[in-house]
């Protein structure tokens, strides 16, 4: 057997965060073999990204890393070697793809120059861009990163990563910010790169489905320790460690049982939300004020929709499909160009945002934030306190949270607070804009369960926007598929998933990385 590309030997690491030194990795042993794709999974905070940075020799000096053991790439200890040596290893042996290509590409440099930094040759750059599936590569050399879509940017990042014919590509959540169809393409690309160039890939992800699709071997990181490593199929189908099992159990899949409580079909009463012929057109200016033209983009392009009282409708679509704009118009946060939205019922629309952290006012305590929602009711002080207490209890938060500020809470707790505020006065419709896409799988699952509980308890209407078909199936009685501002398919959730009528829906479904049980 050939030499491993990278060896992580009894690697321990502690970093200083907010003035406190804490242990991030503990005695990690890992070998990345030549030509293999090694998946590394774990929840946020498990230390997987830090391990990637260690392999690249890019540990943040500002957090005063203290290391034990060794991380060796191509015979060079990436923890101790001099910067000149590290640079040589990075240039000759390593390639990196990060989660957000917008921040890892230089916004002030044309694509061609950024690839050229490694290839030093335009024809080679064009060939590489072609390899990673960028069409019209010659033209793309002249553009800046912001002119490309997220998927294309990630491809450019991949082209840069493979430009130096690296022995190892470190990919840190490269598909998390991408739509499922683009994600499938990028995973395919990574596999091709491995087959064509024979390089190894360290694929860091929180999605076991992704890992199952692409990885040869799989390592599971939990609280800085490597709890399990083995052939990917074995780890996923016969997990040994309890943590791996819980990771698997918290995964949302298209086959998991749906909630029994909401199985009754919709009634014929007056709809809670009535959307008629809704249009929203954005005018985008191109070029300068004087000489540039303008272009009109229809974010929402003629949507008709009725949502029955107590019904939950999930809207799925890729980024740019107009689903969030539609939601914001229903919330009254954005104006429509034409068409109408009518809400029946009291309480107005309430909304839960993707990033709960930024939807809570950072300098207001949770108790104050919740009490504020009650101000229109003009209640007495004692009654406000009782209702705040009840609202916190309804979202399974301890009473002490009332005194805390959003910055002191975890992501899941913040989303619960946002939910408490949105539902403490039953809303006419609860609008959810990807409320769990920033959360770890287990947290996401519990927040989704909570939304269903609240729905069952106060019988509210829900409009749920997501890019994740498994989440849509779980949350919606009906699913509407949106594409370029139009609803292309709508029907009962189970039916849309099982027997999609539209080609586009089938494409979306095919791209979802599912774990297929071995029979």
């Amino acid at each position: 057997m050939t030499e491993p590309v990278a060896v992580v030997d009894d690697f321990s690491l502690s970093l200083v965060r907010n003035g406190i030194r804490s242990r991030v990795l503990n005695g990690v042993n890992l070998r990345i073999r030549a030509g293999e794709i090694l998946g590394l999974v774990g929840e946020s905070g498990s230390g997987k990204s830090v391990l990637a940075l260690s392999l690249l020799g890019l540990l943040p000096q500002a957090s005063h890393p203290q290391t034990g053991g060794s991380v060796t790439v191509g015979g060079v200890n990436m923890l101790r070697a001099k910067e000149t040596k590290l640079r040589k290893v990075r240039r000759e042996l390593l390639g990196a793809i990060f989660q957000d290509p917008m921040t890892s590409l230089n916004p002030t440099m044309r694509i061609g120059r950024q690839i050229g930094e490694r290839t030093h040759d335009d024809t080679e750059s064009v060939r590489l861009l072609g390899t990673v599936g960028v069409r019209d590569a010659q033209l793309r050399l002249r553009v800046y990163p912001h002119e490309l879509s997220g998927g294309l940017r990630q491809r450019v990042m991949a082209a840069i990563a493979v430009a130096g014919r690296p022995a190892l590509i470190v990919a840190d959540e490269p598909t998390t910010a991408l739509d499922v169809t683009v994600q499938a393409q990028l995973l395919e690309l990574l596999r091709e790169l491995r087959d064509d160039f024979g390089c190894s890939v360290l694929m860091i992800t929180h999605d076991l489905g992704v890992a199952d699709q692409i990885a040869d071997r799989l390592a599971v990181l939990y609280r800085g320790e490597l709890v399990e490593i083995g052939p990917a199929a074995d780890v996923i189908r016969n997990p040994e460690h309890e943590y791996t099992r819980s990771l698997l159990a918290s995964r949302l899949s298209l086959t998991m049982p749906r909630d029994e409580r909401f199985m009754q079909t919709g009634c014929d009463a007056e709809p809670a939300v009535r959307i008629r012929n809704l249009h929203r057109i954005f005018t985008v200016r191109r070029g300068g004020r004087v000489f540039g033209g303008s272009r009109e983009i229809a974010a929402v392009d003629g949507v008709d929709l009725d949502i029955a009282p107590r019904e939950s409708l999930a809207i799925v679509g890729e980024s740019g499909s107009g689903k969030s704009t539609l939601l914001r118009i229903v919330a009254g946060l954005e104006k429509s160009t034409s068409g109408s939205v009518t809400l029946s019922g009291t309480g107005g629309p309430q909304m839960v945002f993707q990033d709960a952290g930024s939807s809570l006012t950072p300098w207001m305590s949770v108790g104050k934030t919740l009490a504020e929602r009650l101000r229109p009711l003009e209640l007495g002080r004692a009654e406000v306190r009782d209702r705040v207490t009840a609202a916190l209890a309804a979202v399974d938060l301890p009473l002490e949270v009332a005194a805390a500020h959003p910055g002191e809470l975890s992501g899941g707790q913040r989303q619960r607070v946002a939910l408490a505020r949105a539902t403490m006065i039953p809303p006419a419709v609860l609008l959810c804009d990807e409320p769990t896409s920033a959360l770890d799988a287990s947290l996401a699952k519990s927040v989704l369960a909570l939304i269903r509980d609240l729905r069952a308890r106060i019988g509210m209407t829900v409009l749920f926007v997501t890019h994740d078909l498994a989440v849509a199936r779980l949350m919606g009685d009906r699913i509407a598929v949106m594409r370029t501002g139009r609803i292309v398919e709508i029907g009962p959730a189970e039916q849309v998933i099982a027997t999609p009528g539209e080609e586009y829906t089938r494409t979306l479904l095919a791209a979802v990385p599912e774990i297929v049980e071995a029979s």
């Binding site: 939807s359 006012t361 300098w363 504020e372 929602r373 229109p376 505020r421």
Partner: protein
């Protein structure tokens, strides 16, 4: 020749700030600012002599018995004059910056939160008008029109000073208003004034206070420059800039006579700048 001293615009703050100060050091600097303010407030009690009357021999050097910082060309005690001068400069600077924060902050808050034509025409074009003209010259013109004197000088400087804060606050408010927390508050049926006061204002305070604290030094320098040109305090009353200017001819023979008030201006602006940096480091980063 004297015109060289007039700050043509806003001076870039002496930035120590890219390096983070340690917490005790930051508190020490804030303490220094408080100490200077105390010195300014109690200057009349602390001054050993009447600052306007000749009280000793002419041109005594510093560390002479009875006159710690020496005396000037007509025998006035330099320590007393400098203390009163610090009082005038420092308190004036605080007044100008505070009024600028109040006016500019209000304008910026309303402009940023309202948007539309109120923002673009009424408020921001007016501030643009002020920003387009060199502040020091406009201040001089205003003082010339009102007549010289401390109060008129303060009015003149305050009039050219607030637009900067209006700009800063408006920018911050605009950025904050786009955050989901403001939209959430709107959906939670919070009234407009309450959104302004509870959900926007507290987020702006750190930036505004920090930039204002860094600005005290600029006001001290501008006031000194105006006095230097003869537009500040009337003649016998002590003023650091004017004292430096009047005694400049003695620089080579009796350096301390222009030197002491000059160094006091330097020290004040330095302390204000360092204090500003310290405050910036002490205010917790908003997330």
């Amino acid at each position: 020749m004297t015109a060289i001293l007039v700050p043509s615009g806003r001076l870039r703050p002496l930035s120590v700030g890219s390096r983070r100060l340690s917490k005790p050091a930051a508190w020490a600097l804030v303490g220094l600012v408080v100490a200077v303010t105390g010195l300014a407030v109690f200057a009349r009690q602390l001054a050993p002599y009447n600052p306007i009357q000749p009280v000793g021999p002419l041109n005594l050097p510093p560390l002479s018995p009875g006159h710690l910082l020496g005396t000037d060309g007509i025998g006035r005690d330099l320590l007393s004059r400098t203390l009163i001068g610090i009082q005038v400069s420092w308190l004036s600077a605080l007044v100008v910056v505070a009024s600028g924060l109040l006016i500019g902050g209000t304008v910026g808050l309303i402009a940023g939160a309202t948007g539309g034509w109120v923002d673009s025409v009424l408020l921001m074009r007016i501030t643009d008008l002020f920003l387009a003209l060199p502040g020091a010259l406009v201040a001089i013109a205003i003082v010339a029109a009102l007549g010289s004197g401390l109060v008129n000088t303060l009015i003149g400087v305050a009039i050219v000073w607030w637009p900067y804060y209006a700009r800063i606050v408006r920018g911050e408010v605009k950025a904050l208003a786009a955050r989901p927390h403001v939209e959430s508050a709107r959906l939670a049926e919070v009234s407009r004034p309450r959104i302004l006061l509870d959900h926007l204002l507290p987020g702006v305070v750190p930036t505004a206070v920090v930039s204002a604290s860094l600005d005290i030094a600029n006001v001290v320098l501008l006031l000194a420059a105006l006095s230097f040109l003869g537009l500040g305090q009337k003649a016998p009353a002590p003023e650091l800039g004017a004292d430096t200017a009047r005694a400049l001819s003695q620089l080579l023979s009796q350096w301390w006579v222009p030197g002491v008030p000059g160094i006091a201006v330097l020290a004040l602006s330095l302390i204000a700048n360092l204090g500003g940096d310290a405050i910036r480091n002490l205010i917790p980063v908003r997330r």
